[in-house]
Each structure stands twice: as C-alpha cells, then as structure tokens.
Symmetry: C2
Subunit: 339 residues, 2 copies
C-alpha cells in the first residue's frame, strides 16, 4: 500500500448529529429522507451537514447495508481504440438513467492488468461488471463471482468457459459480406490483414473469410493472409509486404479499424492501389471513400448495459448470447469492378 498520508478529517455523521443536536440515527434518517422525521428536525440536520461539508462514507454504508453499491465496473482491453470508448459511452448513458455510475478501468490488452482491475471492482463490491476481455480464461470470475450471481456481461469478445451473458457482433456474417462483395466485383486474389491471431474477434472474422471463399470455390492462398499485425504500423508493413508479392492481391480486407488505418497509409502514395474494405467504423472513412463492414459500438454498449441491468434487478435464467448485425457500406475503394 501507499505511504502514509495526512488525515483528511472529513466530518462524520456523528458530528453532524451532534451539531444538529440530534441522535446519530435521526441524522441518518434525515439525510436519507426517510419517513418519521419532523420537517424542522430534518431541516436542521441538513443545514448542519451542509455547514460541515459532510459527505456520506459510502464504504461504511455499503458495508453495513449489504446493498450493492451503485457502481458498475467496466473493463476495456484497448483504450487506444475509439471503438471501445463508444461502447463505454453508450453503456454509461443507459446506466446513468437508472442512477448507476459507470467506472471504467483499462487493461491495455494485458491479462494480468485485467485481473487486477476486475479484482479492484470485485473487492469494492460493485453492482455489476461489463467486460471487454483480453483473456481466454477467467479463474477469478469462475471462482466465485460471476457464477455466484455477480451480474456480468461480456462485450465484443466471448466469455470462454463462463456462464454469463454476452453481446458480440456477427463477425462471421460481416466478413462473409465483405468477401462476397469483393468476389462479386471480380476479385479472386484477396488479401487479409488481421489483428492479433489470439483475438476471438479476429478469428471469427477470418473464419467468415474462409467460408465465403470456400463457398465460391475460390482457392485460398495462405500467403495472402497476414495476421498478428497488432497496430496500425504493423498493418502498414503487412500491406507493403502483400503488395510486394510476385502476384499481389487485387483487393485487401482489413479486419478492424486500426488495420484499415495502417493499410490505407501504405497505399496512400501508390499508383494502383488494391481495392480496400475494412471492418468497424473508421473516422473519416466517408471522406476517404473507404468501404467498410460497419457495426455499432453504441448499440453494443446500450444492449450490454440493458442486459446487465436486468441481471442486477434479479433476472435469473441461462446466459444470453446476442449477436449484433453488421452492415456493408460500399464506397469508392471497392466501387470499381475488376477488369
């Protein structure tokens, strides 16, 4: 723990009570607007509280009352991606409407950090958990929380081996739509630039690609599939490698917004850039004319928060697994059929 700190000397309920000349319990009742307090007593207590700058100690309250706190904890894996912010923002709005506060911790794709953040929430007895996980297993949650009834919803990435609700995108369907579109434009050599191969999201998107190609009986050239390009500059290199192949792809599918940004950078100064399509929204994609499989992080946040609220309010029953739809948005980057 951290070093010693000067005492903060915040007033307690007892001091408020003394100042107002009432008992501890009466002060408590007055400040909580409970019944059976004379209006003038209540007024006197509230003035005393204001004068002293009193603030309830929620640690003590939650400890005693066993009421779950009004905080929902959210863990996001990657804060450098506005995509996850959009989820958190939407979720926060839904929760705020119910008087719940959303506090967000960042794991930065580090499983240990994620465990620490979740522990922090759990040990402070939050009312529920929203998790964009960077893990494939969840011993903490298995051990006693999610499975003993801590309301929990996984977002964007599945909860492996855990009986909890989840909200994911239709990654397979979205990828298939992207590839089908490229095939329809006449492309047969289709490159793919993907994020970390360990990410379930990535895997599903790749699965969609393979399925689309298989159904169209287009042979798969593994050299055209680059994976583990975990940031924009990795994607940029990946794109350069693809274009330097003896027989380069005529179209490239980037599996998320960051891969798209990197890929784009690599072709920005190219004479004959390949057709380009991405997954996820991309800022300014409209101006740049980039086709995408678009999804709605806001919907994900909203839906996840709603499901969490139901659990917090006592909903029982089996896990629910929601798949949110995606939408193919065609722009300049794939508008021209291959000759």
């Amino acid at each position: 723990m951290s070093t010693h700190i000067a005492p903060r000397g915040l007033p307690t309920l007892r001091q408020v009570a003394e100042t107002a000349g009432v008992s501890l319990k009466t002060a408590s009742r007055a400040l909580n607007d409970e019944a059976h307090v004379a209006p003038e007593t209540s007024e006197r207590v509230k003035q005393a509280a204001a004068a002293l700058g009193y603030r309830p100690n929620l640690l003590a309250r939650d400890l005693r009352s066993h009421s779950t706190s009004n905080v929902v904890g959210m863990v996001i894996a990657d804060a450098s991606n506005p995509f996850y912010l959009a989820i958190a923002l939407a979720a926060g709005q839904v929760l705020a409407a119910q008087g719940l506060l959303l506090f967000t911790g960042v794991s930065d794709e580090d499983p240990d950090a994620e465990a620490r953040v979740i522990s922090g929430f759990l040990e402070r007895r939050v009312a529920g958990l929203l998790i964009v996980s960077s893990r494939t297993n969840h011993p903490q949650l298995q051990q006693g929380h999610a499975e003993r009834g801590m309301p929990t919803v996984f977002l964007d990435r599945p909860a492996r081996g855990l009986e909890v609700d989840e909200v994911l995108f239709d990654n397979v369907g979205g990828s298939r739509a992207a590839i089908d579109h490229l095939l329809a434009q006449g492309h047969r050599r289709i490159g793919v630039i993907g994020d970390l191969g360990s990410l379930p999201t990535h895997r599903e998107r790749i699965a969609g690609v393979r399925r689309a190609l298989a159904e169209a009986r287009v042979p798969v050239d593994e050299d055209l599939f680059v994976t583990d390009a975990h940031d924009a500059s990795g994607a940029e290199s990946a794109m350069r490698e693809l274009l330097a192949l003896p027989s380069p792809p005529t179209a490239v599918f980037t599996t998320n917004n960051r891969m798209a940004a990197g890929g784009l950078r690599a072709v920005a100064d190219t004479a004959n850039p390949p057709a380009l399509i991405g997954f996820d929204g991309l800022e300014l994609a409209d101006i740049l004319g980039i086709s995408v499989v678009s999804n709605s992080p806001a919907d994900m946040g909203t839906r996840g928060a709603e499901m969490l609220l139901e659990r917090i309010h006592g909903r029982a029953g089996r896990r629910r697994r929601v798949r949110l739809p995606t939408e193919l948005v065609v722009r300049r980057s794939t508008a021209t059929p291959l000759e």
Copy 2:
C-alpha cells in the same frame, strides 16, 4: 454463533479463519503477508482462502484502516473524443506502475453528471482525482475536499477558483502559430470554426487567433468567426456557411479535432477548397494531408498523473500550473501560398 452469510455468498475472513482453524487475526496476518506468522500456518490459511474463493472486502479494510484506497478517480467530459481517451490511457499507465488503479467516469459535458461522478469518487474515498471538467465552478471540491487536501489535478481545462494543480496546453501559443503560418502563406481572410464558446480551451484558442491577427495588423472580420459548432456536423454546416459568404475566407482554422473533421467533410467535394489547419491530432490527418497544431494528450496524462502522485505522497505547497507545448505540423492543406 451462526456464521453469517456475506452478500452474494462471498466468504469472509472469519470463514477463512475457521476453515483453516486459526483466529481471525492470524488469517488476516497470513493473507497480508505480515510478519510473525509461522510459514505453515500461513500456507494453511492461503489454501483455505483459495478453496473458499475468498476476496477481501476493501470497503471494510479501507473503512477500518483509514488507508487511502488504491484507486484514483478520473472524470472526463467528453468520451466521444479519442483525445481524452489518450489522456486517460497514459495516466493509467503511470498510476499502474505505482500500484494504483485508475477508474474513469464520464460526464458527457453535463455539469450535473460531473458532480455526481465526483461525488461517487469522493464518497468512496479515492486516493486522488484527475478532472477534465465541464464546469466553471466547483462547489463540491471547494466545500471540503480539494481544499482539505484531497489530491486533485485538473487536465486540459482550468480549475477556476480552486487552488489545485493543473496541466493545460499552450492554447494561445498554438493558435498564434497556426495563424502566423496562414499569414505567412499570404492569407488575410481567415475563418475560424470553434467549439462551444463556453469552453475555456476554445476561448484561449480564439484569443490566440485575435492576438496573431492584431500583431500582424490584419483587421478582424467577425463574420468569419463561427463558434458553438459543438460537433462535427455543426462544423460541417459552419464551413458551408463560411464558403457561401460573398467574400469567403481563403483559409480556415478549426479549433479542435472534431471541428476539423466536420470542416473537412464540407470541403471534400469542393473544387477550390480553402487552406485548412486544425488543432489537436486527427486520425489519418497524415493521409488526408491536413496541417495541424499538434499536441500530446499522452504527455498531458503522464504529467498529470505524476503530479497527482506527488500530492498523494504528501507533497505540500502551492498549486502548480503547467502549460504543455504544441507543435505546428504543416501538410498539403496549407502548403500552397496564396497567389
């Protein structure tokens, strides 16, 4: 005595102690790795804890021990802007290295929501506060926290009337650099598209513009200054209005990244777009060739967290007000001098 059931059936330290066949205090000592516990006793306690899925209740611990919690609360005003995420991410990394957790709450530019989030943190007795405020006054913080020693650092926006540390950008200097650059390129009719006029950041940036123009003895045409375009689509309309003027500007300065995105959208299909320069980084600005006054939200987060840590560790003394530098990055959008 019947053993009580903890909320959600979580085991308590007492149950761990009973399972291990030791006293409450011994269990506490063992789990906290304090001295004076026989190794084998310690081992037995830890196994019991693991078997039961024990988690310490930090509410109880912090309540009793008066140790400040290991949580720092951060409030951000606008989560739809990746800029603030970048600040939070950097701050979180600095704090994590010291064993502190950063929890972030979003106010969405709503002063009441900000107050609620701050109350939530305060009432949970966080170790410190990082605040990107949407308020101009801070009665809560004045009343007893910031001024009684709750470590607090304001980021990006000043702490009006509050004696706390702050880290801001050199907004005036950055704007002046942008305008000086446009003037050097021969522009005399310079438009400005700004965010909410109530935002101090915005005001400072406008002040920088006026100062640069005044020093160059270029008369100010108020019709060219559009303000309160608080989102990208507002900025887009603003840009269209500017271009529709009888005597439109030859260059436009957008005072933040969102204004830039909107302005850009408006000129995307224009034959003779005005010169364009923005403030703040903008995703893909390099590809789009947009000049910017660039700043580093990561530096802001890092610096702010460092200053907060010093306060948490007991640093006394007057408030410190840091101004972080900006850098002019010239790209295609302002590369051509006006004929």
